[in-house]
Amino acid sequence: MKYSILLLILVATSVCLGQQSGEKLLARQGQVTFFSYTAAENIEAVNNQALSVLVLDTGEIAVDILMRAFVFKKTLMREHFNESYIESDLYPKAKFRGRIKDFDPEATEIQTRIVEGTFTLKDKTVPLSFKVSIQKLNDSILISGETQVNIDDYNIKIPKLLSPNIAKQIKISFNFQHTPYEE
């Protein structure tokens, strides 16, 4: 009996805590841009539909990037990107799961912090950490920064003939405006 009461209290507090820690912010139209610079060709693609969830008190951050939403200047590249390289029929999303180290949800000045986590692309998950700048504006939190991924880590096959046109290191820049999430 005693223990079941204790258990009940534990569950109750955890639900309360869960709600507290569940204070989440969401960015629906996060911008993710990637660049590939080579002597032969520069490729740039923009995605304005990246989803990002930020948990305020833990600094956890999760980003889902829909691969087919990347838009290229050269329209044929979008087809090739989805069909021949990323295979977005099979792997529709890239995912980042991580945590902002020493994140202060109350700070009003711009914070520069390290994010540590993993990046998943084509079912390959590789650790990734990078610097972000965080700015609080009223209710919303802006997170922006840059990182790089190595194509060889992610099971992306590039034909020899085209390897001069695609960089080994892809630069990624991002910009998320998180606003309070209401279910």
């Binding site: 223990y3 204790l6 258990l7 534990l10 955890s14 805590l17 869960g18 820690s21 569940g22 989440k24 969401l26 629906r28 539909q49 989803l51 969830v53 948990v55 833990t58 956890e60 999760a62 889902d64 829909l66 087919r68 939403a69 200047k73 050269k74 329209t75 044929l76 979008r78 087809e79 090739h80 989805n82 069909e83 021949s84 390289y85 295979e87 977005s88 029929d89 099979l90 999303k93 096959k157 034909p159 003939l161 085209l162 046109n165 999430y181 279910e183």
Partner: protein, 295 residues
């Protein structure tokens, strides 16, 4: 004692449990949000705007200019010949331009058949992913051709209009899996004149096409056109093609084995005079190179 152990176990599990509840929350939010996003259209049912010899449902996006070189090479049935590599060849030079994402126009000229052709192509429907919308893609194709020289002696050659022919096609395609796509092409061919009254001016045909992706850049394609009511004055056969498409960046290379030297629908659908086999005279090797330019 037993209860104490249980309490200890509960206390141990508690932080893990509350943590996983929090983590699941994030995934749930992401899942819910991505589910509410509109689903897109299926991309790349075929990689090129032609399956092999005929049109595919695909059109290019606005501002795309494609310059294409199509060719066929074959041998004559003569037992001896001194021609270099192949006895005969035919070629078509063409330009396709995408006025919008759904509307493409094109022109081309072929030698030695002397056929000039124009076409437009309009995407009526696109297949949606997740089967949430149309299960198939629909594209309308209209071509108009002009024969500057005598070919099979089918049409009268009195004036300009007599030498024209028109093909209307409704292309119906479905990307069945990421590797496999099929297309049906009900086609209607109308020629403005006939020399021999035994030949019909209008002919129907049904085209079948498919592609199978063998690697990310290479697919195997095949096409066949069934013509129920064939010409009476000459023996004709259904146009057939088996080939491979290889995409190299801006260039699409299409290799094929076929049974005719023609590049325009009205001609190869209704006036293919050879059946497909590997004998000299019947076997045509085809090569097409298409260069993509974004304007």
């Amino acid at each position: 004692m037993k209860n104490k152990r249980r309490l200890f176990f509960v206390l141990l599990c508690y932080p893990i449990w509350s943590w996983t509840v929090g983590a699941q929350d994030i995934e749930a939010v992401l899942a819910k949000e991505s589910a509410s996003a509109p689903t897109g259209y299926v991309m790349s049912t075929f990689k090129a705007t032609r399956i092999s010899i005929g049109h595919a449902v695909e059109t290019r996006k606005k501002g795309a200019l494609e310059v294409s070189f199509m060719s066929r090479y074959w041998n004559t049935p003569q037992p001896t010949s001194n021609d270099f590599i192949a006895d005969r060849m035919s070629a078509r030079f063409g330009v396709d331009y995408a006025i919008s994402d759904k509307f493409t126009v094109g022109v081309g000229a072929a030698v030695p058949s002397g056929i000039w052709d124009t076409f437009f192509k309009y995407r009526i429907l696109q297949q949606k992913i997740d089967n949430s919308g149309s299960p198939v893609a629909l594209t309308f194709v209209q071509t108009g051709t002009y024969r500057s020289t005598q070919l099979n002696g089918i049409e009268r050659r009195d004036d300009f209009m007599d030498r024209t022919a028109f093909t209307t096609q409704l292309l119906i395609a479905r990307k069945i899996s990421s590797n496999f796509s099929l297309q049906l092409a009900p086609s209607f061919v109308y020629r403005s004149s006939v020399q021999n009254p035994a030949n019909d001016q209008s002919q129907f045909a049904l085209g079948f096409g498919g592609r199978y992706k063998v690697s990310n850049h290479v697919s195997v394609v095949s096409e066949y056109y069934y013509v129920p009511q064939q010409l009476s004055s000459i023996a004709t056969f259904g146009a057939f093609s088996l080939g491979a498409n290889w995409e190299v960046g801006n260039i699409m290379l299409q290799f094929k084995m076929t049974n005719n030297p023609f590049f325009t629908e009205d001609t190869f659908i209704t006036q293919t005079r050879r059946n497909f086999n590997f004998r000299d005279g019947n076997f045509f090797f085809g090569f097409q190179g298409t260069y993509f330019i974004q304007l």
